[in-house]
């Protein structure tokens, strides 16, 4: 049933939102002074890689991304089928926000981002793709250097920064929509959810958007 | 006159309905399944009857011209529904409600019918509450009431300003329940164009499928008409554009008597007409009169802004003329009083055709919040249509054609003069006499449909079980079908020079001028001549484009108007015959020196039931009204 798919969208979406918090928190380590940042970030990465619980959660994470995307595709196709003929004139902007109507497009942009992002880092670390990775003084993989080197490429930094905008837009509507999909209907709480969604999406957008810029300008591998 | 036997049961007034029920015939459930009943119309009366009869086991076929049964015009009743629950402890009782209704109708209805209406009102509220109608409630959870025109107790139940909608949606949901149970077959976008009578009994109908234009025959053991009012005969009215008199007029031409056809209620609180292209007059709920005060400027042609007119220059004419009822005087009296002031040159608004309904005092007394809570949606609606904020400036209101008290003559069982043909709700003449009290129409429609008809129809069907109606391809059906087809092609072939709306405007103009709030002999006679001329012109000069085997709204309008024109003639004949003033029927020749209606019980204490002889001739039958239990008094609201 369609409504079940929406529940899956909401649950996977919210799960991914939690992941983003963890991810961004870790990224803040990158803002420490160079030496500290390097040590902290590499240690953190090392811990993640070697913790079986995290490995298990990461599988959930991959599944969540896949489910969220596949469901989105199916739902979007179904929804398009439900309105086979578009209006000649449609002032949808007068009754709804742009991002609420374009969650699929925004999601697709984020998916592209995720693929590029995973190719940049995950593929190198997890699949051993590309040249051999540097090792830091503690003998851990020097992910920090990988990050900084990658982001010294202005195109990649720009790509990361720009795509934080659709991320924020997607999150802003997604969080609220998920709450309603899962049945939160009290107007008072929905007001709080709206506030939280605004705050959350701003933090995520700014965080993920500005950190690459900081690294581009200030960090050294 | 044997044909007009009202079949009023024996016994004391309070016992008549139970006596009737005790003695009427029943049908065993296995046999009910074999009996088919047609219900035309899906409003409160029709949907209630169709759902209830289906629950009882009959096969029901229900027809409506709209795209869904939920659109029927019961939906538009705003104010409420009366019931003598006496929840307010203000002295209400079945007797008082009975008396108010009888008196409100100016003693031109049957005691037994009206008493039954009052008696069944309380269980009806129980029934609607059980169906999920979100009636207004007190903080403690009990049902709330408000007062309404023509009575001095608070007995009106309501659901914001959308009572009719909520009751209809409840009836519609019950109808849907029986559609799902496959006990009711619903035919939407179907219009009844002919009644079929076999051996003097109703045996089916001919309909037009409004999408394909297909003419279809439907047979049944009994036919129930629940087709509502016909005030669109005035063209400008508070009714839906599609409301029409065709079903009852077709039945009339097949032998059903029309009773009191000229009794039309003119509602006092509609929005005034603003131009000729206007298609309808929007009603503002009468409940507004609970808190609003009606006035006009004391000086003729006072064109000042209402806020600049001082108290001493305002004439609160209802409070002046009817001090004990004031702004809550019954509809006919309020409308006529407004017309009197407007005609005397005190009208307000751009076309000087309106009076003020002012909430200033109520807002000062109760506060803006209370008024918003009570009437918010009505004020919003007023603003949408007129662009005026009625919280700041008084509303402009004006009388408009509204409810048809007249309709097919029915007996105590709601059966017309054609055996097997029933008329329920607004399309019959039963409980309201010459004038209907506010919030009694939803009541009558519901009670007819839910409570009375499903009980009384057994009495007829118990004998019908032995003789099935002819098959829908029997000669009488094919003949009726071809008559309908001929009428349609005749209409389409005229290819004249004027639109249907053009003729409808002319008809409306004549009727509003001569057969509405006040009538006189000369005017009515002239109106009859004019309408007959209009009829000739219509049938020789109307132009309808498109063809018959498609969705053709011009054709629909044309067929309805053709029947309205004929009905209008009978309305004028009826008004002309009744040489008295009673209720909504005000003949200028019959009034007191103060301008109040002068009823003549010695001569006119009867229901006029008209038999169709031919297009130009109607025969009057009189059903004498015998008042056994109350003594008709002068209907005074002073």
């Amino acid at each position: 049933m369609l409504i079940n798919r929406k529940y899956i969208m909401a649950i996977t979406g919210l799960f991914l939102c939690i992941f983003l918090i963890v991810h961004l928190s870790a990224n803040f380590l990158l803002l420490l002074p160079n030496n500290l940042a390097k040590e902290a970030y590499n240690t953190y990465s090392h811990l993640l890689r070697n913790n079986p619980l995290i490995s298990a959660v990461s599988i959930l994470l991959y599944l969540a991304i896949i489910f969220h995307s596949v469901m989105a595709l199916i739902i979007t196709l179904d929804n398009k089928k439900a309105k086979p003929q578009k209006y000649f004139m449609n002032y949808a902007q007068q009754n709804s926000s742009w991002n609420s109507r374009n969650m699929g497009l925004l999601g697709l942009m984020i998916l592209i981002f995720i693929i590029v992002h995973m190719a940049n880092f995950w593929a190198k670390v997890k699949l051993g793709y590309g040249p051999e990775l540097p090792i830091d003084s503690k003998g851990q993989i020097d992910i920090y250097s990988v990050v900084v080197t990658t982001l010294k490429n202005p195109f990649i930094t720009l790509f990361y920064t720009i795509l934080s905008i659709p991320l924020a837009m997607h999150l802003h509507h997604g969080v609220q929509s998920a709450a309603k999909t899962l049945g939160l209907y009290h107007k008072r709480y929905l007001k709080y959810v709206a506030l939280i969604a605004t705050f959350y999406s701003c933090v995520m957008g700014l965080g993920f958007g500005l950190i690459p810029l900081y690294i581009y300008f200030f960090s050294q591998g | 006159m044997t044909r007009l036997d009202a079949k009023i049961p024996e016994g004391e007034l309070e016992k008549k309905w139970s006596n009737y029920q005790a003695k009427s015939n029943l049908i065993n459930p296995a046999n009910k399944r074999k009996l088919k009943v047609i219900v035309v119309g899906s409003g409160l009366a029709g949907a209630g009857a169709a759902a209830t009869m289906a629950e009882l086991g009959y096969q029901v076929e229900c027809f409506c011209y709209q795209d869904s049964p939920r659109r029927a015009h019961s939906v538009a009743a705003q104010g409420g529904i009366n019931a003598c629950k006496n929840y307010q402890h203000d002295g209400d009782s079945v007797w008082r409600m009975f008396y108010d209704t009888l008196k409100g109708g100016d003693f031109r209805s049957r005691e037994a019918n009206v008493y039954r209406l009052a008696q069944l009102s309380a269980p009806l509220i129980d029934h609607f509450a059980a169906q999920g109608v979100p009636f207004a409630r007190e903080y403690g959870g009990t049902l709330a009431n408000r007062s309404f025109g023509g009575v001095q107790v608070e007995r009106t139940f309501y659901a914001r300003g959308q009572t009719g909608q909520q009751l209809l949606v409840a009836a519609y949901s019950q109808l849907s329940k029986m559609v799902e149970a496959k006990k009711v077959t619903m035919h939407t976008r179907h219009e009844m164009l002919e009644l079929v009578v076999t051996d003097g009994k109703a045996s089916g109908i001919i309909t037009r499928n409004l999408i394909t234009g297909e003419i279809e025959a439907h047979n049944a053991h009994a036919v129930v008409l629940a087709t509502g009012g016909y005030s669109r005969v005035f063209r400008l009215s508070t009714l839906a554009i599609g409301c029409n008199g065709s079903a009852i007029w077709r039945a009339h031409k097949k032998g059903a008597f029309m009773a009191g056809p000229s009794f039309t209620q003119i509602h006092p609180t509609a929005l005034p007409q603003s131009s000729d292209s206007q298609s309808k007059l929007t009603l503002m709920s009468e409940s507004l009169r609970n808190d609003g005060r009606i006035w006009v400027p004391k000086n003729k042609d006072d064109k000042r802004d209402p806020s600049l007119i001082q108290e001493e220059d305002r004439d609160y004419y209802l409070e002046r003329r009817y001090p004990s009822f004031g702004n809550l005087a019954p509809r006919d009296i309020s409308s006529r009083a407004a017309k009197e002031r407007i005609d005397a040159g005190h009208g307000v608004g751009p076309l000087r055709n309106a009076v003020y309904l002012d909430f200033k005092d109520a807002i000062n007394r109760l506060g803006l919040k209370v008024i918003k809570d009570r009437y918010g949606n009505l004020f919003d609606m007023y603003k949408k249509i007129t662009g005026i904020d009625a919280y700041k400036s008084p509303m402009l209101i004006s009388p408009a054609a509204h409810f048809s008290m007249g309709g097919l003559w029915v007996d105590y069982e709601l059966m017309t003069t054609i055996p097997g043909l029933y008329a329920i709700g607004e399309c019959n003449y039963s409980d309201h006499g010459a004038n209907r009290l506010g919030a009694n129409s939803l009541l009558q429609a519901s009670i007819d449909g839910y409570f009375i008809l499903p009980n009384t129809i057994n009495n007829y069907l118990s004998s019908a079980i032995k003789n099935d109606p002819p098959k829908s391809d029997a000669p009488e059906f094919t003949e009726a079908k071809s008559q309908v087809e001929q009428r349609i092609s005749r209409l389409l072939e005229i290819k004249g020079s004027k639109t249907v709306d053009h003729f409808h405007r002319d008809l409306g103009h004549i009727m509003w001028q001569e057969c509405s709030m006040s009538r006189n002999e000369a005017g009515l006679k002239k109106a009859i001549i004019d309408i007959k001329k209009l009829k000739e012109e219509f049938w020789s000069d109307v132009k309808i484009t498109g063809h018959d085997k498609e969705l053709n709204q011009e054709l629909e309008k044309g067929l309805r108007l053709a029947d309205f024109i004929e009905l209008a003639i009978l309305m004028c004949e009826d008004a002309l015959e009744r040489n008295e003033s009673c209720g909504a029927h005000f003949r200028e020749e019959f009034q007191t020196p103060e301008g109040e209606a002068l009823r003549d019980d010695s001569q006119f204490s009867y229901v006029s039931a008209w038999e169709f002889i031919n297009e130009n001739e109607f025969k009057l039958h009189k059903e004498q009204l015998n008042f056994e239990f109350v003594k008709p008094t002068v209907r005074s609201y002073k």
């Binding site: 409504i3 929804n79 309105k83 009754n95 049945g183 | 329940k177 131009s275 949408k384």
Partner: protein
Amino acid sequence: MRVNFKIWRQESHQEEGSFKDYSVDNITSDMSLLEALDYLNETLVLKDEKVVAFDYDCREGICGQCGIFVNGRAHGPHDNTTTCQVHMRSFEDGQTIVLEPWRARAFPIVKDLIVDRSALDRIIQKNGYITVKTGGAGEANSILVAKKDADKAMDAAACIGCGACIATCKNSSASLFTAAKINHLDHLPQGKLETNERVMAMVSQMELENFGSCSFTGACEIECPQSISITEIARMNNLFLKAKLTKE
């Protein structure tokens, strides 16, 4: 004033449709939009042309029969209004007014601006009622209903079934319509007893009728003539989830 209508004309569901332009003089600003169409139709009849078919009935915003996509908005340029309550003063002299039928797979076009909304009736037929027989009701005041519950029930019950929510929804979702009925009955103790079966049955039927799903864009609550809130949909989701989780 003079206006130019650009109107979708389509003979039937089977045939292709297209826009046709009509320019109409002598329109007055106090006319309603539908009266302007009446007027256009009268001129068409006199020109021997077929009239524009459009739905209407009460013309006071309560029956729900009218519904046109007017200049890119369901029911025209104002929020929370029916088409019949749009007046020509909302348009400018010389303006082009584009009229399209409701577009949704679940609403096949019948003719010109008329669509078939019987899918909505079929949703109601699936438990969109309280199972009670005529004659069996107890005293109304024996079941108390808190004023706030009655008010909430009324907020949802106000739905007129016009289909604007579906027309405006990019997914043609009937969630607002369906939720309104489910919540109306669930707020009342009389209706609550059957909520679980009702919500399951109505939601299934809604999906069978080829309506899309809800993306919470909020367009529906802006176009709804009765201002029914989108939170009704959230509440329906809540009830559905509960019904599903507690299903025996």
